[in-house]
Symmetry: D2
Subunit: 337 residues, 4 copies
Amino acid sequence: MIIVLRPEATEEELQHLIDVITDAGLQAHVSKGTERTIVGAIGDESKIQLIPFTAIPGVENCIPILKPYKLASREFHRERSRIKIGDIEIGGNEIIVAAGPCSVEPNDTLLQTARAIKAAGAKMLRGGAFKPRTSPYDFPGLGEEGLMMLSDARMETGLAVVTEVMDTRDVEMVYRYADAFQIGARNAQNFNLLREVGKFDKPVFLKRGMSTTIKEFLMAAEYVMSQGNKEVIMVERGIRTFETATRNTLDISAVPVLHHETHLPVFVDPSHATGNFRYITELSLASVACGADGLLIEVHPNPEKAMSDGAQTLKFAKFEMLMDKIKPVAAAVGRKV
Amino acid sequence: MIIVLRPEATEEELQHLIDVITDAGLQAHVSKGTERTIVGAIGDESKIQLIPFTAIPGVENCIPILKPYKLASREFHRERSRIKIGDIEIGGNEIIVAAGPCSVEPNDTLLQTARAIKAAGAKMLRGGAFKPRTSPYDFPGLGEEGLMMLSDARMETGLAVVTEVMDTRDVEMVYRYADAFQIGARNAQNFNLLREVGKFDKPVFLKRGMSTTIKEFLMAAEYVMSQGNKEVIMVERGIRTFETATRNTLDISAVPVLHHETHLPVFVDPSHATGNFRYITELSLASVACGADGLLIEVHPNPEKAMSDGAQTLKFAKFEMLMDKIKPVAAAVGRKV
Amino acid sequence: MIIVLRPEATEEELQHLIDVITDAGLQAHVSKGTERTIVGAIGDESKIQLIPFTAIPGVENCIPILKPYKLASREFHRERSRIKIGDIEIGGNEIIVAAGPCSVEPNDTLLQTARAIKAAGAKMLRGGAFKPRTSPYDFPGLGEEGLMMLSDARMETGLAVVTEVMDTRDVEMVYRYADAFQIGARNAQNFNLLREVGKFDKPVFLKRGMSTTIKEFLMAAEYVMSQGNKEVIMVERGIRTFETATRNTLDISAVPVLHHETHLPVFVDPSHATGNFRYITELSLASVACGADGLLIEVHPNPEKAMSDGAQTLKFAKFEMLMDKIKPVAAAVGRKV
Amino acid sequence: MIIVLRPEATEEELQHLIDVITDAGLQAHVSKGTERTIVGAIGDESKIQLIPFTAIPGVENCIPILKPYKLASREFHRERSRIKIGDIEIGGNEIIVAAGPCSVEPNDTLLQTARAIKAAGAKMLRGGAFKPRTSPYDFPGLGEEGLMMLSDARMETGLAVVTEVMDTRDVEMVYRYADAFQIGARNAQNFNLLREVGKFDKPVFLKRGMSTTIKEFLMAAEYVMSQGNKEVIMVERGIRTFETATRNTLDISAVPVLHHETHLPVFVDPSHATGNFRYITELSLASVACGADGLLIEVHPNPEKAMSDGAQTLKFAKFEMLMDKIKPVAAAVGRKV
């Protein structure tokens, strides 16, 4: 931690600051420059990260040096993590595609879709039984009935199932039916929910919140991991910006930045990032080219009848074309699909 | 709902769109302009708001006309709502100040603070027993013990208590101890939690999320209200922007915009908006001047020892000065504190 | 400047970094912590601010300590600056209101408006002869003819005139007719234009750009001041965020933050900040309450016929009411209008 | 244009609105719904786009239907434009890479770099003789001397030269030396400069502003084109968001969105988008994969000695690797480099 003093700080204020640092068990290194005095706190930064230095008289600013995440950090775990779900390996050479309808619906679309995406090369089935909807009057999902339908679709097709959990009270139920949890963007900082899935032994697809910085996103992963569950997959799904041509702005740089900062695998969800079926294929190609370990894609037999997110959903034929197009790009960067 | 067709849309595509609208029980008004055909869907818009029109062939864009919120809307409830907590009235002529430490701490700071803020004119005590912390290694709050301490402070001082609830499983417990719930910014779109507090009969201080639009913020209120609880207080607490001089950017315009759109009272939390004790007073004055119905302010006897948010916390003397300064501004706009 | 090394940095890399710092004439203070080595560069930071430290092998990050602005900084000029335009003093106890139509139009609206705003208490007339329009097909302003009309209106009413200059080639012409330059938001980082107005001896109303940080905004003022013209008035006019309920988001915190960082006066332009006449009054009150030294308000006899920005323009009667309402708020914070 | 009335709008207000529309030469179609009356203005929307409908009594909102750009729109020019610079074709099958140092420096780095990038496969040389610098104390570029050095480097290597113009007064000089103009991000809405380069017959590389929406970006192209110069290349270079892990946020979706909206070629500048040499290669691959027609890359023999932007600049060896890596990705999407 570097603490910068105000130009008019007094000697008493400096001494008080030094006392605060040494009382916490760290050493204080003072550098008196021409215009500012700077104090470095040397030692275990975690002991002082809660001290509100800027509330101390004479302090202008304080700058943490160490990263606040450990378990998620690549600094302490150089090798990239690989996460197994049955015979699927996430984070290895193969790019894993998870596809399916936005919501599990009370009809046979899930099963139809599961068959179609499997034929096209997807390895995982995604679909929501619990749906976060902006309006209380929209379809909230089928709940446990939807989970059963996902489980049935897995039985028939062999696809692994990932589905969202929104409530700490539902974590155990979702655990029983699914192969992996999904934490949605709106719950990216629902810390109790993060802790809860951290107590179970199934992988967590953790979506970035709409206004979550990459650092906060890594802290969210740290929450899950701090409870014991080390199998977290980071999912970039677009952030909120001033641009309205797409529903969100896909932060494609997050893929290489996350690979630099963490050993955890990184997926991209181009469907939610753009909200527009027209751009999904190009953004999938971009994601694969810059190192994404997998994709989450919304697919439905008839998007105009989908119970949610129809505007960003691909038909079967378009999804097949997408799968065909990403293969050569994956090969071009030394991966396979 | 207005649906705009693409220039190359065919007659079949137009007819299919008309069928979709009429099948849903609305009328379709077609206007053929020189460059675009536009179709208006006339009737109960709620019946079609889930149809993904942009997924329908030939459609370029669709524009909802009606607002998606009803219970929160001022259109259906012209009079401003007043919410009673004991003998406090929120949304009336008096500006209500809620103050207190960020976290309830395992010492006597809460009680000290409660006495000090009451003496200075605050009517409510705020303080967190459950704390959303970005890091899993930070102080998470005292839980039920903190709730008991809040309840004790109320007994002694007569201040009404508002405190955050973060987990659906804790709603009932918080209900037992507090006079009002607070939903924090990170849970602004935790829809299950919104529904849960909507089932109880105590007021809800609903904080705006860091990336929540005003429309989504009103939909969050609608979630609570749709379960029966009509006592929602909207709290503007800063949004996330590119500016880093303050922790968030206080969207002061939200005060008049919300008053225009909804009958619900509007509070401002300048402490979280700026993250810097230095600017709290000026932003409190601005909030009162433009019509805020109340303020949430962080106060602690010794901010540099506060267990969270010390940098944005006022000392007792500074809080007293703030209270003194807002009085004439309140009077200038025909209100009192 | 603080330079943080990567954990795997070698001794050679550290030595090379020290050489770079000492070659530039500064001293290098090395602190070896448990997880990171940190190097402080002590001395005149301006000598090294152009060195791309993060391009040097072994460096993870570099953190400037000193503020990059000097002339604009309150550190080097504690007293708030007061700027005189005729008998008007900006930055003193009186809050100065500049009002007028968005564009100078080829009719008598300017003169009508000048008379009306003067009667209501405004001290300055604003109006654009050169208009930055998003579309090349929109009204671009009357140019020199508009400047003459502004000059005529000043002659008749005695109001001081401020008007925008958009092109380095027009600076001298605007100087001849106006009492003060305005630099618009879209030119906030048009550095050649900033330099050009810096060579003249009339005040500059410098608008913040839509995505300009406060630090960059101060650097823009520094550009003007570095050429000799020290009379800069900072104008907060809203920044671009995800929120669409208002045209921009008024960053009201910029008022106290700027007053903390700079000695220059601070104005607010609520008209451009919101783009909606309905909220101008409340935001004007908020601005005055938190310390703004003046306001820029768009006024027109018949906004629905205004040639630009009608939606955010006040009629005469509404402007008079605004002036009446800000008086008691100004008094409440010890100022007058 | 669709105009939505307020629920309480009177018949007189409706009639007045109809008069405004018909006076402008359009037809008014009135649809009375259950909760709102909506008026469509049918005819040439450009005649009414300047009318501030929301300033008309009884109007709640107005929604333009037609796009405000024509010359740039793909609607009126279905075929993608190809722009020739000597024997280079931009917008065709070949992906064009322009590379070079951020600034032209007073030494032989430009020539060294030109030779190295040509050997690696670049077709154009980029480098700034006029530099927009945030600080007035930073290196502002060499001006005409820099232009001469660029011209010399072209003579020797045969690379086409693109360089920034910042001031209307310099446009003719830059025209004499360069093969193409560059308009920088900070001048993306410097409308006079856009008009000026629109009068010349050399291509314009138009960078998106940090807070420019895609619609505004297209309007900026329209400005250039409205003066006669149809050769505009759109350059996505990152937008300003809350994320600080990269200097800006590369809006990769802009590539497919722009290709959908306009016939103009689209380049990506990953150097300015991220500000970090570490991520340039991955983002270049992503850009090529999703359809970019070219790249702008900063290259310098010794970035740590570069006079600007060293942190985001590639060394020769790293640039060669980048060129090697983009070839197979280009081939995978049916293009060549």
